[in-house]
Symmetry: C2
Subunit: 367 residues, 2 copies
């Protein structure tokens, strides 16, 4: 293999693949990237066997071929190189040679045959969604994905695409986050229902970052592929039945309480300095036109906050884990949020005022 690439494009391509590869090096090849030079393209692939990422850039290929090379080291080196052409060369049995301006490096290479094969993705299959639509949905569900490995179906977000609508939902049993968006029915090529693991979601979010255009979703055997502008992310799906979330969604009765997002965020952040961990509930007292927030911690002390709000429902008092409220507020783009609290024991519904197709259900804590 022998090829030349521009340093800046190579660096951003390398950065994209870093998140996928194994940091632990338990299986050495998984800490490596596969570099393939073919035609006028250099393709980089990384995988941890669950999530794989492939991306490519333009390069001047002098001799076609492929080699696997330590992903972290290559990234560290290229990051420090000046913006000049980088020459990459490898011959079987030798080290990979990297030359840029007056710098040259030799890194151990592994023959490409040892690198795990990535699945074939059929041309034109799957459905097409605006990258921006999918990108904004990821942070709105990622925070609610469970980290509890004893309930594997909750360690990912359920993605559903059917009948002109895309939805994503995640829950950890204490809170649930659901986001929906319309998609062009014309572009839809069949329904998709898949539980995407947390790591794949996070890497997908990075892949879609700042990208315009369309992303294509292709269901594969126990896997799904996301394709965008020459980059592709393929992930194993989580097997099993995602809980029937529709039945826990409370229906918003009446207008609910209306608050300025920033005011509520500030008050809850201050309360969180006292609540410390999740075991201490933060108490919301809904009065006509105002919200009282309080939190007591026997080790530390006590916090009290008062906010004005638009509210015409009955007075009620309910406790929450402040972390869950902050997580929701942290991903709202609007300036106002609505809050539907029925009683101190029923799930409460939080939404941006204008909806945005985004709903967050949070279970109260006993106070």
């Amino acid at each position: 293999m022998h090829a030349q690439v521009a340093r800046n494009s190579f660096l951003s391509t390398l950065a994209q693949v870093q998140g996928v590869i194994e940091a632990k090096r338990t299986i050495p090849i998984l800490s490596h990237l596969l570099l393939e030079a073919k035609g006028n393209t250099i393709t980089l692939s990384g995988t941890d066997l669950d999530v794989s990422m492939q991306t490519s850039l333009f390069g001047e290929v002098k001799q076609e071929g492929a080699v696997a090379i330590s992903g972290k080291k290559l990234y560290e080196i290229v990051r420090e190189l000046p913006d000049a052409p980088i020459d990459l060369r490898w011959e079987e049995g030798q080290n990979v040679q990297i030359v840029c301006a007056k710098s040259s490096f030799r890194l151990k290479g592994i023959t490409p045959e040892e690198f795990p094969a990535l699945p074939h993705i059929p041309e034109g299959a799957g459905i097409t969604i605006a990258a921006e639509t999918l990108r904004t949905m990821i942070p709105k569900t990622l925070f609610a994905v469970s980290t509890d490995q004893t309930r594997p179906t909750l360690t990912g977000a359920l993605l559903q695409a059917a009948e002109g609508e895309l939805s994503m939902v995640a829950t950890d049993g204490h809170r649930l986050s659901l986001v929906k968006a319309p998609i062009h029915a014309a572009k839809a090529g069949g329904a998709i229902e898949a539980i995407i693991p947390r790591k794949a979601l996070a890497e997908l979010g990075k892949m879609l970052k700042e990208e315009t255009g369309d992303v294509r979703l292709v269901p594969l055997d126990h896997q799904i592929a996301f394709l965008l502008n020459g980059s592709r992310l393929i992930t194993r799906l989580i097997e099993g039945q995602f809980p029937n979330y529709e039945q826990v969604l409370p229906s918003p009765s009446g207008p609910g309480a209306l608050l300025r997002r920033e005011d509520l965020l500030g008050a809850l952040r201050r309360a969180s300095t006292i609540s410390g961990d999740r075991a201490t509930p933060t108490v919301l007292e809904l009065k006509a036109d105002r919200l009282l927030i309080s939190c007591k911690n026997i080790d530390l002390g006590e916090a009290k906050e008062e906010l004005s709000m638009e509210y015409r429902g009955p007075e009620t008092t309910v406790g929450f884990s402040v972390r869950y409220l902050l997580d929701f507020l942290g991903v709202v783009d609007e300036t106002e949020v609505s809050m539907h609290i029925h009683d101190p024991l029923s799930p409460a519904l939080f939404e941006p005022k204008k909806g945005e197709g985004f709903s967050c259900v949070i279970m109260p804590m006993r106070i």
Copy 2:
């Protein structure tokens, strides 16, 4: 105690004292700050028994008094408060009450008698130095302070003030950093020689940050105080004899090798991706008009760099720990550096081209 302070000034005062107080809470009072309200001033004190910091701000004192309060919690709360007056109130046997706009907090208070007494600092004693002079010297020595507790005298920097000159020097046995600056003899009130512990140096650097004006150094019994604009840092001194560093300083014979700082920094950063840890030497090969840098690591591979430089001395090859070279270059303000290498086993001298009174001696590694 009852007083009002402005939120922004209170926050920056709190931030200053944070670094000194105990994070571990082995002795609870050391994780607390002492708040004292007297006249029209609020004074904050924190200590870990080795290093103490005291700073004050203007406040409207309604009832004089003092109380100790958790430093970390108070800082976290004030950081989240809006910019409005903060009301602080405490009565013996009760919690400290903190009220700001529509937020109110109660935190446990400890009676001021339990807070360790800070030493008295005699008025007008000690010597006076421009804050800027001392500030620029700290980072130039801090990096060379040893972390090896088996050689306690090296775990601080030696500060010497005498005969119109201030010097600071630190060494860990492998490298030594020395910085000197002239001081106004008229302002000097006696000589000082003190080994300042690492933590005190770091906190002093923060205290002097962005400050103009003069800092007063007052030697106390086994301690030294630094006073600036109502803030004071007092530290225990390290006992013992600092090594006689003058004798290890090589004399710069001839003009040495002259390099652009940024070029050398870039080349060494790239080499450091291969060298990994300190055990692998980075090899500098001095040729007429150019420097070759190389590094081999049997696990990873090899790096080679070439730089142009001004050099008329004999050709020589010498190995260094790349980390030591990077540490030196990281605190140089000038665009060019000089390098005096006598032979592969003798200490080498690194300086900014124009001197700045700053010298770094680095022991070579065997190659």
